[in-house]
């Protein structure tokens, strides 16, 4: 029996409407739902209340395009509870966070590994410096530790390998170095602008993805309906961000297999794309572009012209370089059958985004829970099945081509009028709202709960990287350690998005 509230993407509901179940029923229902591939958990978190920790579980129904929200209350924290993760591993990160934040103990969680050593964690004596990596005593095996600071200009995280010569047997990833305490800050500042800037900083390479989620959430909470011009600008921005990063990733993948021509050409192809963001909104990473309630930088005929000129110059060069790259045996030898994530692994761990789609899983919020103008675009997710670095390279090229097509078709429908600035500030009281977007890495989920006066009492952010880091750890098993960099780049996961 499903006792959950059915909500749509960006919908705002009253908290009392969310069914409050016994923990046993809550566990049973959610872990049963996830056994079919069309259900997956998009967010699962807790809120401290006087009577205990109120748990909220959000299960996406990909077939129906809904989200099923249910809750339970844990009044007694001195006992150990049965875990969701023992029944389906895809909940593992959420329960690790619940343990880290509130001290909830689980009797049978497969691996209660610290998630991010958050500043407001329950056990302050736990320190990232003392983290006990999994070890094996052996004459033949050795450990390689990489990070937290890495060789290139890249965010920090620690990778601990157990190797047999060149071959990786096991990789353990420890994150938390980038933790800045962003979620509590959403509650403190009292201006809309401050919250918007925080949203821009969740993952600075996914400004449009996260800020659109925030804007959609906030507008849903305040009952504001953005005009067509706002929806158009945000949809174009989302696809342009996808193009910009995917281009950079193609360059990075070439760098890590020492394919100099590809590295330089794809690298320089990113420049005109992000310079177009700058022409549009004054910032190459699109900071400043998305504002709740506003069309901050309208898509004018001038901007449309700039985008058209961009693609006319960019696309032939991208296609030419990519065509050349995929004829080279030396390139294919490094990319094919490297870093494989099998479909059953992807499903088991709850992978999302291109990582899921290249392992045969249809996970794409633009398709399952469309927002902005994705319904009108008749978006078709690109699915591949080999799950290797090559698949993750191919999907980037194909998504770039698809995104260009989408932007060109949107440019034919620019609305005449520009919405006047409206800064929605009146949030509904005692409400819950969920916003899902498909960032270039995968599904982003923001949830918020308001108190009796409409003040925010919870802001919960889920970056797709939270699911996908485990996919990287699994993918490198039995690969050579020299393939680790290209595997890592083929995922390109967020450290700060994970660590918040």
């Amino acid at each position: 029996m499903t006792k959950a509230l059915t909500v749509k993407n960006n919908q705002c509901v009253r908290v009392p409407e969310i069914p409050l179940l016994d923990y046993a029923d809550f566990l049973e229902m959610n872990t049963t739902l996830v056994n079919d591939v069309y259900h997956h958990c998009v967010n699962y978190f807790g809120l401290r209340q006087p009577q205990g920790i109120r748990l909220f579980c959000c299960m996406a129904d990909d077939a129906a395009g809904n989200i099923l929200v249910s809750s339970a209350n844990l009044g007694n924290l001195s006992v150990a509870y049965p875990s969701f993760s023992a029944r389906h591993l895809s909940f593992h990160a959420f329960e690790r966070e619940l343990h880290e934040s509130f001290g909830i103990r689980y009797a049978d969680h497969p691996w209660m590994k610290p998630l991010r050593y958050a500043a407001q964690r329950a056990d302050r004596s736990a320190d990232i410096r003392n983290y006990p990596f999994y070890q094996i005593e052996s004459e033949e095996l050795h450990e390689v530790g990489v990070g937290p600071i890495h060789a290139g200009i890249i965010e920090p995280g620690h990778f601990r390998f157990i190797c047999n010569g060149e071959q990786i047997l096991h990789l353990e990833i420890q994150l938390g170095y980038q933790h800045r305490g962003i979620e509590p800050l959403f509650l403190n500042p009292n201006t809309l602008l401050q919250r918007t800037l925080l949203a821009e900083g969740i993952a600075g390479d996914t400004v449009v993805g996260h800020t659109t989620a925030f804007a959609n959430l906030w507008e849903g909470l305040c009952g504001f309906n953005p005009g067509e011009d706002i929806l158009l600008a945000r949809t174009i921005a989302s696809e342009l961000e996808r193009i910009a990063i995917h281009t950079g990733d193609l360059s990075a993948i070439c760098t890590d297999i020492a394919y100099q021509l590809g590295s330089s050409v794809f690298g320089r192809l990113r420049t005109p794309v992000i310079n177009t963001f700058q022409v549009w909104c004054g910032n190459r990473l699109a900071k400043g572009l998305i504002r709740p309630g506003r069309n901050q930088y309208p898509v004018t005929p001038g901007i449309a012209e700039a985008l058209t000129r961009l693609f006319d110059a960019y696309e032939p060069d991208l296609d030419e370089m990519y065509r050349r790259m995929k004829t080279l045996p030396s390139v294919l030898a490094r990319l094919e059958r490297t870093g494989i994530v099998k479909q059953d692994q992807a499903e088991r761990i709850g992978a999302v985004g291109p990582v899921a789609r290249t392992s045969g899983l249809l996970r794409d919020i633009r398709w399952t829970h469309p927002y902005l103008l994705y319904s009108a675009l008749h978006h078709q997710p690109i699915i591949k099945h080999h799950g290797d670095v090559y698949s993750r390279t191919q999907i980037r090229k194909q998504e770039i081509t698809q995104s260009i097509k989408y932007i060109k078709s949107l440019l034919l429908q620019i609305p005449e009028s520009v919405s006047p600035d409206a800064d929605p500030v009146t949030a509904a009281p005692d409400s819950f709202v969920i916003a899902l977007t498909e960032g270039w890495r995968g599904e982003i989920c923001h949830c918020a709960i308001s108190g009796p006066s409409g003040e925010l009492i919870l802001y919960k952010i889920k970056d797709p990287s939270v699911h996908n880091w485990l996919a990287l750890a699994l993918a490198v098993r039995n690969n050579d350690i020299s393939d680790f960099p290209v595997c890592n780049k083929s995922f390109n996961l967020s450290y700060c998005g994970h660590d918040l």
Partner: protein, 257 residues
């Protein structure tokens, strides 16, 4: 033989189509379209109280009106609300050798320069023609990191000035810090800095590094490292623009007293 020749011809065609990608003069090139660089402030008829209050990080102060580019998020809310009082110019050369050098006052249209008198003499002596830097992302959101990577690409090519990011602090002349310095990165940052041989420099890149940005009040930060050592260069931006970074570093290592 035939296959190799065809492949080589494809490569040559690609190279020809790419042409010359480097910006000929990164000290004078104009950035395209809109850009929020050095601000111009006029105080006439300003609603000073409202102006100060609307800045999300408190970067604006009054009497006289000043904007602190080290706290500024370059969000342009002040410019949008008070267009007759604040304009952000396209001047990307906004780096300074002192923290005070980042503060722009009312009525000033002076370029921001890296004051050579504020730079330690050994910096120019040792690093004028070759500067190797280690990048430490200490809670950075990855926007400055992407732009620092871009500073070394074929368009901006800071390598032509001998400026390079290296893979180990042992190979480096200094560190470039991005991010507000999270608690969990405090020790790795210190260990990295300790491993850099003397003489060594510290560069802060981006608003988060310079002032903490939006995270300034967070209990997840530990900025005590910055109280221990002098900072040699402040590069503002959210994120830093590659041209701001390159020109700032050139000012640091080549500025004549």
């Amino acid at each position: 033989m035939h296959v190799n020749a065809t492949g080589m011809i494809s490569d040559i065609k690609i190279l020809l189509h790419q042409g010359k990608q480097y910006i000929p003069d990164v000290t004078t090139v104009e950035v395209p379209g809109r850009f929020r660089g050095r601000p111009l402030i006029t105080g006439a008829n300003a609603d000073v109280e409202k102006l100060v209050k609307l800045c999300p990080t408190g970067a604006i102060s009054a009497q006289p009106i000043r904007i602190d580019m080290g706290k500024c998020m370059f969000c342009a809310e002040c410019e949008r609300t008070f267009p007759s009082n604040i304009t952000f110019t396209k001047d990307y050369k906004i780096s300074a050798a002192t923290r005070e050098g980042l503060i722009v006052g009312e009525g000033s249209d002076e370029p921001i320069v890296v004051d050579p008198n504020a730079v330690r003499s050994e910096i120019r002596k040792f690093f004028g023609k070759s500067l190797k830097l280690r990048q430490v992302s200490a809670g950075g959101d990855n926007s400055c990191e992407w732009e620092l990577n871009a500073a070394g690409n074929v368009n901006f090519d800071m390598g032509r000035f001998g400026i390079e990011f290296v893979a180990s602090p042992r190979h480096a002349d200094g560190i470039v810090i991005t991010g507000p310095i999270s608690r969990n990165m405090a020790e790795p940052l210190q260990i990295c800095y300790d491993a850099v041989p003397h003489p060594k420099i510290i560069i802060l890149a981006g608003t988060d590094a310079i002032s903490g940005g939006m995270f300034a009040g967070s209990d997840a930060l530990d900025r005590s490292f910055l109280a221990k050592y002098p900072v040699d260069l402040y590069v503002p931006g959210n994120p830093v623009h590659p041209l701001t970074f390159i020109n700032g570093v050139l000012g640091l290592i080549r500025g004549k007293r």
